[in-house]
Amino acid sequence: MPCRNGRLVRYPEFEDFLAGVRKNGPLHWICQRRNFPVGSRVGSSPSARSLADIKRSVLESSRVKNVVAEEAIRRDWKEKLVFKEAEAILEEMAHAYSIYNVRALGFVVCAAMEKMFDSIMVNEQMLLKIRAMSPNDAVIFMPSHKTYMDFIILSLICFHYEIQLPAIAAGMDFMNMKFIGELLRRSGAFFMRRSFGHDKLYWAVFTEYVQSHIVFNDRPVEFFVEGTRSRVGKSLHPKYGLLQIVLEPYLRGSTFDITIVPVSMTYDKILEEKLYAYELLGFPKPKESTSGLFKAREILNKKNGSCFLTFGEPISVRKYFGVSLHRSAFVCQPDSQFVLDDQAKREIKRFAHQVVEIQNKNAVITVWSLASMVMLQELDLNDLTTFRYRWLHEKVHDLLKLLHLLGTTVNVQENLDHDLRNYLTIHEDLFERSSDEDFVLRLVDQPVEQDSAGISKIIMGRAVSRLILTTYSNGMIHAVDSEGILCILVRSMESASIDQLRKDWLHFLLKREFVSTPGELNKLFDETLGILLEARILDIFEERPVILAENYSRKLELMILPYIFNFKMIFDAAKSLPATFKSLNEVVPKVQEHICNVYSTGSQPVRLSFLSTEPIKNALLALLDLQAIRRTEAGFEIDSGKLTQEQSRIGNYVNSRKNANSKL
């Protein structure tokens, strides 16, 4: 079967970037003569623009000029004053990239990376290809986003492979970190406010600033389509705004083409794993502060394993949108009044989702992800269970076989035993382990400072380690999500026809949990069915799908059922929410409390990871999509009729599992 998901990290496709650094040391590395290809606008000869040139082109653009004039009238200010504000916005936003800064900072950063990671693996050939393309068309890197490390490592790699360092769209919160903010700015990051929907002036300056880099092809632009770091180890529902800004120059013909490069970044250990877990439980997010990061100094001396970067095949926007988006539809508008129509917006959204899909497809799936999945499932039987090493090895081995059957490649570096032991060392802080040959592992509770939202410290502490495991197990979930869902459907809707199943395709409900391309759910259904048929897990009997390999089917179901249980529980909790409320965030703790109660009484199967705010938000948004919750002027209101309907619908899928051995 062709490889559908995952990568095998092997030479010559993958190279260890750190091996090169280690040969002569980071100082030598950073001081090497570099030859960055200078990009240019199509049709002009290459010339590097100075920072001042960039700023000038933004402030003198007709977009900014027009908005300044409009705002002056609206605010009844002098134009000069508005212009001053535009300048200030730009000043706050702009990067201060210079190669000297990069070299100075690069040494420190590179030395730190060298200490932290065993290896940083990169698929080199693709980078050489990207480098060759970069002088002609602007390159946009769109990496998956799991940690701060993402942009630091990507920049190092660019430096190493002599690709112009990208201008990175970073959140404003990074700017406020004392040392790091300036470090980022000087190595080419620019800062965007988290929300600036109605601030026209800000919007104009920001848009023009980003587009200026693309049109003049000064340097690649890098941004995260997920908008923020994913705290849960799997892809977040993409955001569209920045992608629209990035694509606009192509749509209006200001640039001939744009090259999009999806980048998948996988880590053996995510530095922020614990922070994320606390955050997801609802402890206030610690301010992004430098000292915070440097408390992470201890991290520097710990073993963090490897980092894997897979650069995807560059996508020519011209080719991609050539058939779906007719630029001629926009040309009746003058350049200064450019507006995207709904059809264009839809296509761009679709593209955002496809980039996420590519990121997933190319992501390296680690043995650790499988191990976490296996342990979590065991915890479903007994939340305080312990794991024997030999048992773990066997279970992971079984899961490997199943994934292989589905066309998924798991990166086994040496052999399963070696890898598994290595991962257990990397993640040793999660466990207590006995010292015998077939050792026993027990998850340790993590310290929690205070009770939160009426949930006891003990439960919270226990939840932390389970959340961390969930984060890692999510690293493989994209390889089994639709397959698991389909198996659940087939089991719960006995003797339903293909069409009936397709109509009841749960994926719609779970689309925020398992990101898929809108409008292509039917396609996904057919593909998934094809895969399961080919793997001989399902079969078609008298035009109705039936389960052929009971064992595998159940395994797949069990991996996905917790997500459905989680949703169901949140739907249940929504039942007891006040009929109207101001914001979704406000009700999240109430839902957590409900889940905690269910856990304590043991009336229903609950994973402590259900306490995570992420699926709670996703489920509430799903209810919003289903109109069981509705937006009102004052906030939100619950349509209890609709809610009951959805509750019983989701109930159908889990109730039919009563006979299963598992608690879930």
Partner: protein
């Protein structure tokens, strides 16, 4: 010509088309670029400034820019070897024409020469002896009444009429549709070439539609007038052709395009004559029917007579030129000129590729002083002003008017140019730029002798999109050529040739070395189609003045919309229900054999 069928003729006139024009290339028989004994490119004949001169820099440019080996030749087939099929039989129409005393001929050469325009396809076919469907007969009406007679004959004898003026079309407008089974008559307007009257009071002139541009202009000049319409094809194209394609002239800034110049038209359609009762400067009588005739491309009938505005000859005609550091500066300069409405009679902007080509086409200079001067000015531009040789571009212009007017125009233009970093390049360079225009059409024949395929095509575009359109279309031509397997560098160049209040006209030049390609014409087609798609996607139009013909029909629907097309079809079916004028230009008529529906 290899042929064997009885020649039927009556009163065949001696026309310039058959005597002094090339049968398979551009222009006069005696005028062409050739390689002389020393290996330099020269221009033959005596009709142009550059005739008899040598261009020593051209060969190196040609060879390096297009990756050509001039020793490799792809000569054209001889006329005597071209196979010509017998015409469709229709004795009735021959009998009818004989009886009506209309001049006609079915001689193979007559048919062949009127079977095509000047697209690269048509010329390559002639060069390679691939003869497409030819008209079966050529007729020469001598009057409007004879046109009516011919149309009546065609209608009652199941014939098709394809009118032809100068034959300079570049849109496949003159091609006989392959699928046409009926007897096709080529209606040659060559004998209707008289000026009927000149009205000094109203400054208008009435002429027959077959009059050739340069003849019209010469006769008007002799009387102290000009018509001011000067398309690049003026030597060969006709008044009727201008009207039926919505032509545009170089000096439209001062005199206007054909639709501005036309006061009155006589149009013979199968349903009868269309003409307005009065000859007035403007009228409000419902939608303008003259506007339906203009641009009808021979699908509705024949333009027989036209009344045009004329103007007193200007006191002074002066050339000028500017050099700009890059194309964007040039475009911005043009935009500003349009904003201030100070455009001289003509204003054109060449891009860097054309600027370089123009330099390469400069004739050998014997004067030591001249070489010194031009190298000195080159130094001034590149060293002193810091212009880059691979970015520089140039504008040329023509001033016409009274001495004082011209002086003032020149001064204002120079001032504006300066604010866009332009350097005044002098009169000689300007003059040279316009001379080149006439020569450039001959250049393609030289290219074809060495395996180069090339063509020019135009569009119109709003100001804010001029620069991006030019850049993207040129880039597309380069990349798409590569995708199609062209190994050598291609010529992808453009110029802005007209300035309007709301936009500009842009001309593209595309040429490549087809040596080693399996099917060069197919490659050419794909690139041109992709280029037109890109033009449309960047906000340009289907055509500024070449018209639609058959070549650009695929973009008619997007351009005019379904309702618009239906309207055009309705007009056609009202005026020409039997589809006598079946050249299949503009739109496909349902029920006609070439229709894809």
């Amino acid at each position: 010509m290899t042929t064997s069928y009885p020649i039927l003729e009556q009163d065949v006139p001696q026309s310039y088309r058959d005597k002094i024009l090339k049968w398979n290339g551009w222009g006069y028989n005696d005028s062409m670029f050739t390689i002389d004994k020393a290996g330099h490119v020269t221009f033959t004949g005596d009709k142009y400034d550059i005739s008899g001169k040598t261009m020593p820099h051209f060969r190196p440019w040609f060879e390096s820019y297009l990756g050509i080996d001039l020793n490799h030749t792809t000569p054209a087939q001889k006329l005597s070897e071209v196979p010509i099929d017998a015409p469709v039989e229709n004795d009735d129409i021959i009998e009818y024409l004989t009886e009506k005393k209309i001049a006609f001929s079915n001689a193979p050469r007559m048919r062949l020469i009127r079977s095509h325009g000047h697209t690269v396809h048509e010329l390559m076919n002639l060069r390679e002896g691939k003869v497409p469907r030819l008209p079966d007969l050529v007729v020469w009406p001598k009057s409007e009444a004879e046109i009516t007679t011919i149309i009546e004959g065609a209608m009652s004898n199941s014939c098709v009429i394809i009118p032809i003026g100068g034959g300079t079309s570049v849109s496949n407008a003159l091609d006989c549709p392959d699928t046409e089974k009926r007897f096709v008559i080529s209606l040659d307007m060559a004998l209707m070439d008289k000026i009927l009257w000149i009205d000094r009071q109203n400054l208008t002139c009435r002429a027959q539609a077959g009059i050739v541009g340069q003849s019209l202009e010469r006769q008007l000049n002799d009387k102290g007038f000009t018509c001011g319409h000067e398309p690049d094809s003026i030597e060969f194209s006709t008044l009727g052709g201008w009207v039926s394609t919505r032509a545009s002239g170089m000096k439209k800034n001062k005199y206007g395009n054909i639709e501005d110049l036309v006061v009155h038209i006589n149009f013979v359609s199968p349903k009868g004559l269309i003409q307005r009762q009065c000859q007035v400067p403007r009228i409000s009588s419902g939608p303008d029917i003259q506007q339906i005739i203009m641009g009808s491309e021979g699908t509705l009938g024949v333009v027989s007579e036209v009344t045009l505005k004329v103007f007193p000859l200007p006191e002074v005609k002066k050339y000028g030129s500017f050099v700009f550091p890059d194309f964007e500066c040039g475009v911005n300069f043009f935009r500003e000129v349009a904003r201030q409405r100070i455009q001289p009679a003509s204003l054109r902007l060449m891009d860097n590729e054309q600027f370089v080509m123009g330099q390469a086409l400069k004739v050998a200079n014997n004067s030591y002083w001249d070489t010194f001067k031009s190298s000195l000015s080159k130094m001034y531009i590149t060293k002193w002003k810091g212009f880059k040789v691979d970015e520089i571009c140039a504008a040329t212009c023509v001033y016409e008017g009274s001495r004082a007017e011209v002086e003032e125009q020149e001064q204002r233009l120079n001032q504006v140019a300066e604010t866009f970093r332009g350097v005044v390049g002098g009169e000689e360079n300007g003059k040279y730029g316009y001379r080149l225009t006439f020569a450039i059409a001959y250049l393609r024949d030289l290219g074809m002798n060495h395996g180069v395929l090339g063509e020019s095509f135009e569009t119109s575009v709003p100001w804010d999109k001029v620069h991006t359109l030019c850049r993207n279309v040129k880039e597309l031509m380069r990349r798409e050529s590569k995708n199609q397997g062209v190994q050598t560098p291609v010529l992808a160049s453009c110029r802005v040739t007209q300035v309007y209040d709301a936009g500009a006209c842009v001309y593209f030049y595309y040429g490549f070395n087809s040596r080693g390609l399996e099917d060069g014409l197919k490659v050419y087609d794909r690139v041109e189609t992709a280029a037109r798609d890109e033009i449309i996607a960047c906000g340009g139009s289907i055509s500024h003045h070449h018209g639609v013909g058959k070549l650009r029909k695929p973009w008619m629907l997007t351009t005019n919309g379904a309702v618009g097309i239906a309207l055009l079809k309705a007009i056609k079916s009202e005026l020409d229900p039997a589809n006598v004028f079946a050249n299949a230009n503009l739109v496909d008529i349902i029920g006609s054999p070439h229709c894809k529906l």
